[in-house]
Symmetry: D2
Subunit: 346 residues, 4 copies
């Protein structure tokens, strides 16, 4: 017990924070020490995250009452981490921030995509972008790791090998997303009678996550055409990437490329079957898992390759990947606490 790492979470009342608690409670090498929520001080974690009932009793404290810890997760709304990162950096040896605050290494890029001046630009270069499938070795050595955008991740993992091989001419990205992606704050737009059964194109031509896509894939943002539609789903993203290739590549070639990049990845699966109901990737069977499933099909006679990415936005798209990063940063086996297989049917 003594040798367990001490971990705390700032902003643990949100959906990302809740998933972190769930994962860390089952992690054999860490002890979840403190969780904060300014509006819920004194309340039990399970009063906000009802799935935690009956687990280790945890009470929310104020961020002001945080003790020093080995790993600190920041799970606050966008823009908050940069306000106090200086202070947090003294509280913990290692920091993993789930927000968008430290996903870019330059303040210019941050401003381009988020429209505001960054408030702690000196920290930008200290953070590693926390996507193990692309930055595993850097993450292992990092002190500070940034979380990933869920929409970006649903695209970046499936397309990275193709981009790296220099095959992509142009991208049309059509994402189907769920309601938990927008967080736990109620609004008219999230009111059940309006949000149920919806097919709401909330981002017809632009999304801030395109910055992360452009950066990670190394593709100019004017070649990335993004659209996102919200569905009546609580968890999960399906990304349909219409990839226009710059050379003639067969499905066999594509398979070989994925094998080359991902055959050892613990959380990437290629899903391309000739029969059955689940021939291509689907997010529903990924709820609670850290997988990114990738399907694809080449259009005959044209240069379009359709790549289908599926993730659980709160897991591989946020907290799951964050815990995976912690495992890498701390030298734990990478899959620790992330072994949930997923349910079927669901």
């Amino acid at each position: 017990m003594d040798s367990k790492l001490k971990v705390s979470i700032i902003g643990a009342s949100g959906y990302g924070g809740g998933e972190l608690i769930r994962l860390l409670l089952n992690h054999p090498y860490v002890e979840l020490n403190q969780i904060t929520s300014e509006s819920n001080v004194g309340k039990y974690a399970h009063s906000i995250h009802p799935n935690l009932r009956g687990q280790k009793l945890l009470q929310f404290v104020s961020a002001g009452d945080l003790e020093h810890c080995d790993v600190l997760f920041l799970a606050m709304p966008h823009g908050k981490a940069q306000l106090s990162i200086e202070k947090y950096s003294k509280l913990a040896d290692k920091i993993i921030d789930l927000s968008a605050d430290f996903r870019f290494s330059s303040k210019e890029d941050y401003k381009k995509w988020y429209g505001e001046e960054h408030l702690a630009p000196e920290f930008l270069s200290k953070f590693v972008y926390g996507l193990p499938e692309i930055h595993r070795e850097e993450i292992k050595k990092a002190k500070y790791v940034s979380g990933v955008g869920c929409n970006a991740t649903s695209v970046n993992i499936p397309l990275y090998p193709l981009a790296k091989e220099g095959l992509i001419d142009m991208l049309v990205l059509d994402l189907k997303v769920s309601s938990s992606e927008a967080g736990n704050k109620a609004s008219e737009a999230s009111h059940h009678p309006e949000r149920a059964n919806c097919l709401r194109t909330f981002a017809p031509v632009f999304h801030r996550h395109c910055g992360e896509i452009s950066k990670e894939l190394g593709i100019s943002s004017d070649k990335i055409h993004f659209t996102a539609t919200a569905l009546d789903m609580v968890r999960g993203i399906l990304s349909t990437s219409h990839v226009f290739l710059n050379k003639d590549v067969s499905e066999k070639d594509i398979r070989a490329i994925y094998r080359k990049y991902y055959s050892n990845e613990p959380f990437v699966r290629i899903v391309k079957d000739n029969q059955g109901i689940y021939r291509l990737s689907e997010p529903k069977i990924l709820a609670g898992t850290n997988y990114c499933d990738i399907g694809f099909e080449k259009e005959e006679g044209t240069n379009r390759l359709v790549v289908i990415g599926a993730i659980d936005n709160l897991m591989k798209g946020a907290s799951g990947t964050a815990v995976q990063c912690m495992n890498l940063m701390c030298g734990f086996e990478e899959k620790t606490a992330l072994g949930f297989i997923g349910l079927h049917p669901i």
Copy 2:
């Protein structure tokens, strides 16, 4: 055109008000004159009720700008109508109030079920309870008619014949209800990630609508055991009434009783088939219709009769019945503007 009745709606931005607009726009004998919403003055109806796009252009006005009309619908939240009923009574010859304010004829009953003093008790006796299946003849002659509670209606129509025949010993009412029943105001409880997939027993032992059930069925409220559970559904109520009978009655007898009371009712259907998928009543095929479907099955060897009621809570449970009342009050054919058949599949 000149001979059309002038109709206005106070509180037309809510779900009940939206349904009234939809129905009245298609009503051949009335002209929808004004619609009010204090928080939406100047906005078009379709900015709030998107289904109204492309219909007659209507702008919300303030209630203070209401002109005299032939029929005035009140569709405000509970407690508001009684505040200004005196004033409204001078604005219109006929008033139909959808709220709970005038459902009881005595101030004592109102206080018993709503916990507050009534603010316009002198009007209570002027209102007729607007359920045509029970009070058709009174409604025809009424100047003021009260709307019905949706949950109460899902029980009252199916059980009235049994109550009238003196067959009911005790009732266990188990209601399955949808999110539109709670109105258009967003809250943490209606936030999609929480409200989706829910099975929330929000009223385990009590609901204010029990007052209307007790009154209309003539059954003491301590014999009425009520429970309501909210489902992931936007429209519709399924009421499962576990009726404990005080005498031995066969299914054939029950059928005969329903025929006696309801064979001429335009909006009541008995649904009890031996085969097919829809053997008993189901709300999904009632969306947009004014039907109350009734199914039943007698338990062999005991005195329990299970009666299954299905309605669209916004139609038969609110605005549909209100328009049906208007038709009766104004001498129109009772089904006018209420002929929508319902969709399948849906």
Copy 3:
């Protein structure tokens, strides 16, 4: 009554047939005379289409027992109409076929898209493609009209003006579709535990409806990149058309183009608002209606225009449009029996 046209439906047990029955029962100028279903002879229509309970009693007959009628609807599975069209053509003055059998005017096109020889090629040129928004005048004079593909229609109406103006360079079509599109036959793929919550890319790179899209828009099929994903929805299609334009066109220009083509169309609405929850088109509020709603947004700095089409696949995508064609063919007011406004919330 005598002056009503006699109408019959072959294949009335399917979902398209059920919608036809529903619409025709409320049509003031026709009398629904006979409905056929070989596997349901003698059964009542409401035993298959439960929403029809309480309407005019109709029993399924065999197609062999069909009497002569004024208008005959064919609502059989693909491939059946061409088998007996000769016979049917003697039974009725006017024929409207909902299937894919007569959507192409050449047998070569039919074979190209459906992979089989056409069995009644001499009838192909006698049929008019039944999309009033493009072929109204021909339909008015036609004896034989072909129904439309639902997926094709969700794209063709929104894109026709742009195509006609010669603006389209290339299309990426990303459709989100519902389960009723696949008909009423149960299968492993439609089994609820598998089909619920699904995001199944059942047509990653090809769909037979592309033939109709290519033909109606006058765009070579190699410029049309199609993908369709099935969602947990019973009715409705959302088509996201990523339109790559061949010249610089502003949103204002696009608006003007839609006004030019569609300002008098009874069932086309442009949905493009700056506020509110329903800023762009959404199928959920179209259930039961004959509308095609069109939204759009131009991507700044690129030549992509995103066009969002929404329809009820069983209405505008099938039976609604078929009845609209009948109205045109018979000289009835075009909107007759198609005035349902749609529900909100739903």
Copy 4:
């Protein structure tokens, strides 16, 4: 590795079998040796259960090819296990049967509830009813254990303490159930357009699981009034038990009774809060878990106590409890492989 117990599953292509595979693959003390499915011989497990992709590769074999094993799970449709139990008893030291075949200890009871003669009555008394909350000590010593009915379990765990204390006068059981409960065979009734959005009272007055309820609670079946309604949900049961008590008992007393019986139960949680959205038990947050959550509320002034039970029908209602039994039978820690916390939001 050598010391791991060898486990096999007969009938592993069904939903219960799939859950067993998922659980056993993560079980540290057993090795999943063989899985059978007569119609899928040679196929990989993940071709049927897509969540298993990327796990240990398992191929279905024929039951005829089964090797001897330490524990054998039978997960076949009702009526199959009794046909071959003699043979299976020679294949394995310990047997756990998930079907209804061995839930009763007398052939008379079996015939009463299942309407057929039992084909292996001599085995009935050898089986222990596998509900650890009631039969833990017997299960520990058992060689043969019967699985539990999912609907029965959703009622038995919540009501057992009340029954044992002799408090129950009469029961009205109103169950809300999901589609996976009916298994993986497609039918017209499970066809998505019909089954989605449904509220189908498929068991208005009777269910075979009442036999298990009567037996386990020790309450005469004529005092048990059962109704079940199918909802648009894939997993989960909510049981609303309207318990009519034979004496005056307070909520405090009820709490004390639950504490007495269940304070040490690893998978039973009492859910009764005064605030928050999840005040009472709800199945959605239980997907994949082995919990039975129990909420309750006493009606003032009457003898009705409403008890709300929530389970995942495939876990606590079937495979989860079966693995819990295996853990007890084999001397493993009872929670082994059953520690999944459940997701929120979902």
